[in-house]
Structure formats: C-alpha cells, structure tokens
C-alpha cells in the first residue's frame, strides 16, 4: 500500500488546516499528520483512485458554472419577485439520458446542477443512466436536455473519462 494514497486530498487538507489555524511550522506538522491519516482512511473507504484525463479543462468548467450560477440567481430572484411572471411560469420534470458513468463525474454534475438555482437533481438510475431533473422555469424541455448534455456533460466526459 502506498504511503500517500490520495496526495491531492492530503495536500488540500493540510492547506485547509493551516488556513483555519495559522501558517506556522508547528501547525504544518500537526496538519500533515492529520491529513496523512485522513488520506489513508479515505483510501480504505474507496479503493479506486480518481483519474483526471484533462485537468486543464477544470478552470474552464469553473468559469462557465460561476457565470451560469450568477445568471440563474438573477433569473430565479426575478421570478420570485414577480410572482412567477404573474402566474405564467411552469415548473416540471425533465428526463435526461446521460452518457457519463464515472462516479466522480456524476457527483460533479450533481453539484453543478443543484448549486445552480432553478434546477434540482432528483434521481439518477444507474442501470439506464437516466437522470430525473426538476426545472423551476420550464420553457422548452429540449433546451434543458441540450444545456445539460452539451454544456456540462461534454466537458465532464472529457475531464473524467
């Protein structure tokens, strides 16, 4: 077994430890001990390692998602204030067939979809790969399927698979 099974996770934990306490040599040692144990514990829970195929695309994904979250924040806030375009708003369920199978990729997609106001991830069927999404302001269903599949899933497929 490797000494540092999840090097990136361990490094991140040391960093968070030092942010929350102080940047001193003593805290570095203490934080490193905690992080190494936590990394080994995590490896015992999940044996398979995450492999990032294209880490350079992560920054692009983060920027796209941040812009989308800001935009949909404004959209949902306006809908709440106007009482749903004065009763004209419809919400509904959308079924989206996903090609993404990698668990970490799916987790990232769930995070993106739920963090964006206006869409909520409800259920995912691992056998058929179908995702059940609830959309706050459902204008056209095909547009939402297209948005999830082309805007996020294509990028996540490149990063993770």
């Amino acid at each position: 077994m490797r000494i540092l099974p999840h090097a990136l996770l361990t490094l991140l934990l040391v960093l968070v430890w030092m942010v929350l306490t102080s940047f001193s040599p003593g805290q570095l040692i203490l934080g490193s001990v905690v992080a190494i144990f936590a990394g080994r514990a995590f490896a015992a829970l999940t044996p398979d390692r995450t492999r990032l195929r294209r880490p350079d695309l992560i920054l692009r994904l983060v920027l796209i998602v941040a812009a989308d979250i800001a935009r949909s924040n404004v959209a949902v806030a306006r809908l709440i204030l106007t009482g749903g375009r004065h009763g004209q708003r419809h919400s509904g369920f959308v079924h989206i067939p996903l090609d993404l199978r990698e668990p970490n990729g799916l987790a990232t997609l769930a995070l993106i979809v739920t963090a964006t106001p206006g869409t909520a991830w409800l259920d995912y069927d691992p056998d058929s790969g179908e995702l059940l999404l609830h959309v706050f302001d459902l204008v056209d269903e095909a547009g939402w399927i297209d948005l999830v599949k082309n805007r996020y899933e294509a990028l996540l497929l490149e990063i993770f698979q």
Partner: protein
Amino acid sequence: MTSHLAQVPLWAAIVIAVLVVLGSGLTLLGALGLVRLSSFFDRIHAPTLGTSWGTAGVMLGSALLFTLTGDRLVIHEIVIGALMMTTTPVTLMILGRAALSRNGGARPRAANPASITAGLDADAAEGGSDRR
C-alpha cells in the same frame, strides 16, 4: 464607537457594503420564495439562492473586511463557501428523493418513471394538501 470599521478605505467600504447587502438580499429573496411558492418541488429551488450567491457575497465581503482591518490575509471564509457549495447539493438530493418516494408511494427507481412524475404533477396541482 466601532473603530475597526473606520480603518477601511472608502472604495473597499463600498465594495464590502454592496457584496454584503447583495448576499443577504438574495438570501431574503430565497426565504420569500420559500413562503410564496405553492408546491414542494418549486420550493426546493428557493434556498439555493441563499446558498450560492447569498453565501458567496457575505463571505467575500467578510474576507475583504478582515483582510483590510487585520494584519494578514484572511481566507477562512473560503472554507465555509466551499463547505456550502459541496454540502447543499447532497442535502437537496436526499431531500428530493425522500419527497419523491413519499409522494409517489413507489420507490423512485420504478420500472416506469413517467408514472411517478405524472402522480407528482397531480400532487403539485393539489398545492397545499394537508397530508403528512
């Protein structure tokens, strides 16, 4: 009175004020939506206003204020921001699945998902039914 607020330069004070008021205003709108919207699956969208840009605005303002009044870079707030970003989807997903299974009666992973959502839409149209 409060001396630490006077140390902040004017431009930063305006930036912090805008960020904090925007963040808490979005949180208030989210809570307003929680009260005004009529069905559960509509309401599940409302608190995400507070957890996405609501939290981000307040945290950025706080980080900026404490960095300027303290003597070192304060980025504690990023930890809370990251915590909110990663935990909200988990809670909303589990809550959504719980609501699906409570509403439909059947397990969410039924053979015919269309029948469940049809039942749900009927339930949503019912609005504030008093079933528990």
